[in-house]
């Protein structure tokens, strides 16, 4: 993308603009952009909204950013609240605040420390979350590493290595009162280690069921171990 010779779009305070091709787009304050945007840097501090599809190299959303359309970017970091109504295609996604995507996420590396809501599928090579999340479709990644901070749910989870663990609580007493749980219909992977999970079906090669799980059926082909605090209704070796 040749962006060096393009102009910048800068909105300080209240302002609105049409879309177009820019080098950098910066919104400080309350800015509205109507139309498709293509740029190499997008910076949103304050409250920004873009109605249209966005193609960008690097995007940072520090305040409140909303995109009514699809977004495609290399690096997206969210430190406030971000919303994309369409699909998000991203190589590296870091969320330290809150992100909501109406459609699908297709990415390489996803790191969440906060809250993530996805309407449809979420695909990545690695998905690391220390957070709360809700995924309407399939969570599909080579490595899924989840530390539960609050109730999470995904329709299905599939991948190679799937690790789900409970957050280590400093105040051990409260742990028994507030129990967080991940709910899903089905987990399928080669190596599965889960805690605090409620699932209909767990299928894998190496399956380790940790504490506080409620599972209808486990099917495994290699090894299987289970914590005594978990309930599994049916265990099948294939």
């Amino acid at each position: 993308m040749e962006t060096k010779n393009r102009g910048d779009l800068l909105i300080n305070g209240f302002g609105s603009s049409n879309g177009g091709s820019f080098h950098a787009v910066t919104i400080n304050g309350k800015g509205t952009v109507i139309g498709d945007v293509e740029c190499s840097e997008l910076d949103c501090n304050g409250s920004g909204s873009i109605t249209g599809d966005v193609v960008v190299n690097q995007a940072r959303i520090n305040g409140h950013g909303k995109i009514n359309g699809n977004m495609e970017c290399q690096v997206l970091s969210v430190e406030g609240a971000a919303g994309v109504t369409g699909n998000l295609r991203v190589e590296m996604l870091k969320v330290s605040g809150k992100a909501k995507v109406g459609g699908k996420i297709k990415g390489d590396e996803i790191k969440i420390k906060g809250r993530l809501t996805v309407g449809e599928d979420c695909e990545a090579e690695s998905f690391r979350a220390e957070s709360q999340f809700s995924i309407g479709g399939l969570l599909n990644a080579d490595l899924i590493d989840i530390t539960l901070f609050a109730d999470c749910d995904a329709k299905e989870i599939g991948g190679q290595t799937i690790l789900i663990k409970q957050k280590n609580s400093l105040l051990g007493i409260f742990k028994s009162f507030v129990r967080t749980q991940l709910k899903t219909e089905c987990i399928e992977g080669d190596k599965i280690e889960i805690e605090n999970t409620k699932a209909g079906m767990v299928r894998g090669n190496q399956v380790v069921i940790g504490a506080n799980c409620e599972i209808e059926v486990v099917e495994y082909s290699g090894e299987f171990t289970m914590d005594k605090n978990s309930i599994v209704k049916d265990i099948r070796k294939i």
Partner: protein
């Protein structure tokens, strides 16, 4: 299905059929395989299957959800998926997954090949190529959709299933429906009845049936043709 033109000989009428079927619905005639059995049979792991799905090597439509007594299960069209996995396993030695994905996806946008290149790569013979250019009257540079047209023509003419006149008719159908062919799962069917032939382009079709006296001369999946071309180009 036939009309008389001015010269008094018979030409056939081209029929174009659209039968739109819901995505992901397959008839019972297609044998299905459950995910578990598939992993067993193909000797792959969940990790691989999900990775290939992520890379779009396995189309979304092939994941068919059905409820069984154990809850929801995913099924695949058996023949297609085994075929595809076979191909992936053969080629992943030499190609990266991204390159493979390009091969399986039906849209190669910016491909341009010269006429000589096509002959050299053994995609089309010179005879067929000249015949194609004579009818189509285009330039010597081929983009993917023209490449597909000439390849289909080559395939059917070389196998002797159709004659030159039918080839002309076939080209007309392909040229008129360029845009459709690229995006959808298209199939080409050539039939003959009482010596009159006709050509149908079926988009996203499930099944079709003719009356008994109609003979299906050739049936060709354009998707498969695209893949064949791509594998020749790599």
């Amino acid at each position: 299905m036939s009309n008389k033109n001015k010269d008094g000989d018979f030409t056939s009428v081209t029929v174009l059929c659209y039968i739109i079927v819901m995505k992901g619905v397959f008839t019972m005639s297609e044998e299905l395989i459950s995910k578990k059995d598939l992993l067993d049979e193909a000797g792959i792991s969940y990790g691989q299957l999900y990775r290939w799905k992520r890379k779009d090597l396995i189309p979304e439509e092939w994941f068919i959800r059905k409820s069984t007594f154990t809850g929801q299960e995913t099924f695949f069209p058996k023949r297609k998926i085994l075929d595809r996995i076979n191909k992936i396993q053969q080629m992943k030695e030499n190609l990266s997954l991204d390159e493979l994905a390009d091969m399986f996806s039906p849209n190669i946008a910016d491909l341009l090949l010269e006429k000589d290149e096509l002959v050299k790569r053994n995609i089309v013979s010179t005879t067929v190529l000249d015949y194609y250019l004579e009818i189509e009257k285009g330039g010597l540079t081929f983009n993917f959709s023209r490449l597909l047209e000439v390849y289909v023509l080559e395939k059917l003419l070389q196998s002797g299933e159709i004659n030159l006149e039918e080839g002309k008719m076939l080209l007309q159908v392909l040229v008129d429906n360029k845009a459709l062919i690229k995006q959808k799962k298209a199939e080409l069917v050539i039939t003959r009845k009482l010596g009159v032939s006709s050509c149908l382009l079926l988009i996203n079709t499930e099944n079709f049936h003719f009356e008994r006296s109609t003979k299906i001369v050739a049936q060709l999946s354009l998707m498969a043709c695209m893949e064949e071309i791509k594998s020749k180009l790599v």
